[in-house]
Subunit: 187 residues, 2 copies
DNA sequence: GTCTATAATAGGATAGAC
DNA sequence: GTCTATCCTATTATAGAC
């Protein structure tokens, strides 16, 4: 069923954006509350354990969205090339054309890294495994598929960092385009 | 001449470490002061404009160190392959084998990104240009050298993010090793 | 130059009214 | 459920002693 206007999912989506722009420490409760249009006290009604809980649920929900919107296409029918291309398109949307950072980056700095270590590791593993499977289906050896998968994730994360630091989202889009072209040409 | 025991360079180096672990917002003045073994008030003696100034000077000094320790080898005598290999070794040391993040990442989040936008952009450009020059000397066309340079920087930044998020510095070391091998094999 | 002490403000969190 | 009001702590920043 369709979530109501301010379902928990919608709230977490808005909270996620704040963390992805400002990082864990940089996102104050006032910022977070403001992003969902509530007072701070109302946030505590929904997240009694406060900021740590908000981060944890944001991570979990972001992982679910990433799974259904970005990784699922890797497993749908079609040639490996087409499926990878779909994933890249979905990633481009997920990261808003390079204008929005990744929680793997913004929620792994400093104290947050300690809170969320397990969730972060699992998210990376999950992403890499989905890519490795595709690589194998495209004819790569296990070793080559593993390396390729790691490099794809590295490229997405690295290009997002550069796009943010240089204030040039085009860096991200270029990098994704190259990933797609190279995979197509290797087929 | 050799800097005295607590020269500004040494102080900035210690301050830099805090920013690279905890990010701009995550680094409190108490943390920063503690890292150099001083009280907060003493930090304000050295940096009257406070945290923003500290970040700016850390960025500038980190850029100088990166230039002399990591980029300089690219321009020294030797084959392109040897010079690139030296840069990778220096980068490995600079990032402490993947255990220390890059200021391009940790000082570009949230408000810090606005403060330091120019310095961050310039640092990226500088790094890429040094690599592009090397690529050209290795026989690449301008277009290919530019792409290759961008990909090297992306790989370093991305593998650092993953290493931190997964708490596995080996990701960074593997990525650097692949960069070296691939360049050698293309010669 | 460095310290203690102290503002002044922001941030995380809770109580209780509506 | 959401708000105002409040508390407590942390944080930035400064004053003034040594």
């Amino acid at each position: 069923m369709r979530p109501s206007r301010n379902s928990r999912q919608e709230i977490l989506s808005k909270l996620s954006e704040v963390f992805r722009r400002d990082g864990y420490t940089g996102a104050s409760l006032a910022d977070l509350a403001g992003a969902v249009g509530l007072g701070k006290a109302s946030l505590y009604q929904k997240f009694p354990q406060g900021k740590v809980q908000i981060g944890a649920e944001v991570l979990a929900e972001t992982g679910r969205i990433f799974e259904t919107e970005v990784l699922a296409p890797l497993r749908e029918p079609g040639t490996p090339e087409a499926r990878f291309s779909k994933m890249l398109g979905a990633a481009r949307k997920f990261y808003e054309d390079g204008k929005l950072s990744c929680v793997l980056d913004t929620l792994s700095l400093g104290e947050a890294g300690q809170f969320y270590r397990e969730a972060l590791s699992e998210a990376i593993t999950h992403w890499q495994e989905a890519l490795t499977t595709l690589g194998r289906e495209a004819g790569l050896s296990h070793a080559k598929a593993t390396v390729w998968a790691e490099e794809v994730v590295i490229t997405v994360e690295g290009s997002l960092v550069l796009a943010r630091a240089a204030n040039d989202p085009e860096i991200f889009r270029r990098a994704l385009k190259r990933l797609g072209n190279r995979f197509a040409n290797s087929q």
